[in-house]
């Protein structure tokens, strides 16, 4: 509790200095608007519904792309860990593509799918898939062979072993990959939304983009704040508790 209070106080002080600098005209409000004006924008955007609808549009795209990435990535990772050939081909490709910022896929996505939701989903999937695939394969490779032997002596057949031993045993790695995949998905989508206008829905990226076109920096920074907040919330509400529970169960908790 005390830690939270201290952290809160530090952030509060920073905001106060920021506001003070704006009031004293240490810099131009056009370049860096004051916290108050950002809050003002956020309140207005919330009131007229633009912020909420943009968040929903972005959230939906994110979930669709992310879900596809997870659903495809985990089985592909399992397969890859089983085959030397896939390891050498798909594994190398995945490693390479993981380092490619997925905004690089946008031109191709536009050409293939046009200005559509499919193009958006494609970019998100390309951002998510590789991290999850690699983490899953890595996790499977790190399963102690003794687990598989023990399961076999108890009558477990290969498919049963895969589902009931290999997969749970590699879960800490898979969850780590899903967390990383989530961060990549988020970045990919923002890049794609800033880059491309899709008429079927205006997301947070578009909102940010229009802020720039209108020189409305309070909108740009306001949307940035929303993006950061959502990312932080998902981490705190979804991934952190799961990770903590896993580490507690597996006995690898960093106390």
């Amino acid at each position: 509790m005390k830690r939270w209070l201290v952290a809160g106080a530090v952030f509060g002080a920073l905001l106060a200095v920021w506001q003070l600098g704006d009031s004293c005209r240490w810099w131009s409000s056009v370049l860096l608007p004051s916290p108050a004006s950002i809050v003002q924008y956020l309140v207005a955007a919330l009131a007229d519904g633009t912020l909420l609808s943009a968040t929903l549009v972005t959230g939906q795209r994110l979930l669709v792309g992310y879900a596809i990435g997870v659903v495809a990535g985990i089985p592909l990772g399992l397969l890859m860990s089983r085959s030397r050939l896939l390891q050498d081909t798909l594994g190398t490709l995945a490693l390479g593509l993981q380092t490619l910022p997925s905004v690089c896929w946008v031109p191709l996505a536009l050409l293939w799918f046009g200005q559509t939701e499919t193009a958006m989903a494609f970019v998100v999937v390309m951002g998510t898939l590789w991290a999850i695939l690699l983490a899953t394969a890595d996790g499977v490779r790190n399963v102690p062979p003794i687990y598989v032997r023990a399961a076999r002596t108890m009558g477990s057949q290969p498919l049963h072993t895969l589902v009931h031993v290999t997969l749970p045993a590699s879960l800490p790695f898979v969850i780590g990959g899903m967390k990383q995949g989530w961060a990549f998905a988020w970045r990919s989508l923002m890049a794609a939304e800033i880059y491309v206008t899709v008429l079927t829905g205006f997301g947070l990226g578009h909102l940010l983009h229009y802020g720039r076109e209108l020189h409305a920096m309070e909108q740009v920074i306001g949307v940035m704040a929303v993006i950061v907040t959502i990312g932080l919330l998902v981490d705190r509400v979804v991934f952190s508790p799961v990770e903590r529970a896993l580490h507690r169960r597996w006995g690898t908790a960093r106390s």
Binding site: I146, R152, T153, G155, P168, G251
Partner: protein
């Protein structure tokens, strides 16, 4: 008789017969003969200790009996039937903790039972609880594995191996990573359990005292290639304690035998 009672009924132990078992491994390009023409008969309900220094192929031999490895020559018969792969009739207990950390103590004991046809969920749990009670861990059924001590983990592993009601128990240095006091307790426990639920037990160890304390017979193996060097009968009354003078006497005899054969450093005496 209810399904659970039926499940908990003792099954008759099985005799094991090893006929000319040989096994080679490829090591750095060259073939290594790990087991050379090993033949051995183990009677129903007998507890045989395989004793030898590391590298004498005793763990490999156990894996062959388990069906986890195929012999290159020879065969293993369990109850008269040739071993072709792992079976619930021959459960293995490993040296390393092979328990699954994503399951609690009861969940681990349940694993083998879930693969056994004809048991519903409630009966499986009842059977699993019976075995946790047998190893004295009834109050730890919900414990995560990492919260259990080394000795308790091996007890869970023992319960897990016993739960599918096998006829043969194969134990690969199960107590070697434990401290001396815990180990002595487990010697007593294992003998007590063997009284209640008779199994044919093949117990791999490199500890001479341990083999003299537990075995009805001690099969001494020599390395390079792995062969049976001698078989020693242990005709001492049970339950035995590792500190009994009779056990010490046998251990001394076996140690002298190992020295005479220049079998290096199996651990002589008690630790």
């Amino acid at each position: 008789m209810s399904r659970v009672e039926e499940e908990l009924r003792s099954v008759p132990p099985e005799a094991l017969r090893l006929e000319g078992v040989s096994k080679r491994f490829l090591a750095r390009g060259s073939e290594l003969l790990v087991l050379d023409d090993v033949s051995l008969d183990i009677a129903e309900g007998e507890l045989v200790c395989l004793l030898g220094p590391s590298g004498c192929g005793k763990s490999t031999l156990l894996n062959v009996v388990a069906g986890l490895e195929r012999p290159d020559a020879g065969r293993v018969l369990a109850g008269g039937t040739e071993v072709a792969g792992p079976s619930r009739d021959r459960m293995v207990m490993f040296q390393e903790p092979a328990l699954f950390p994503w399951r609690d103590a009861l969940g681990n004991v349940l694993f083998g039972l879930e693969l056994k046809p004809g048991l519903d969920k409630a009966s499986r749990r009842e059977v699993a609880r019976y075995y946790l009670r047998l190893v004295g861990l009834e109050s730890f059924e919900k414990s995560p594995i990492h919260e259990l001590s080394g000795g308790m983990r091996q007890r869970v592993a023992l319960a897990r191996a016993l739960a599918p009601n096998p006829r043969v128990l194969l134990m690969d240095e199960p107590f070697s990573a434990l401290d001396a006091m815990t180990r002595e307790q487990l010697y007593a426990d294992l003998q007590g359990i063997q009284q209640k639920r008779r199994k044919t037990i093949l117990f791999v160890t490199h500890n001479v005292r341990e083999s003299a304390c537990l075995g009805d017979r001690i099969v001494v193996m020599s390395p390079n290639p792995g062969r049976i060097a001698a078989v020693v009968d242990v005709a001492l009354p049970r339950p035995r304690d590792i500190n009994d003078s009779g056990v010490a006497e046998i251990a001394r005899k076996v140690t002298a035998m190992l020295r005479a054969q220049h079998v290096p450093a199996a651990e002589a005496g008690g630790r």
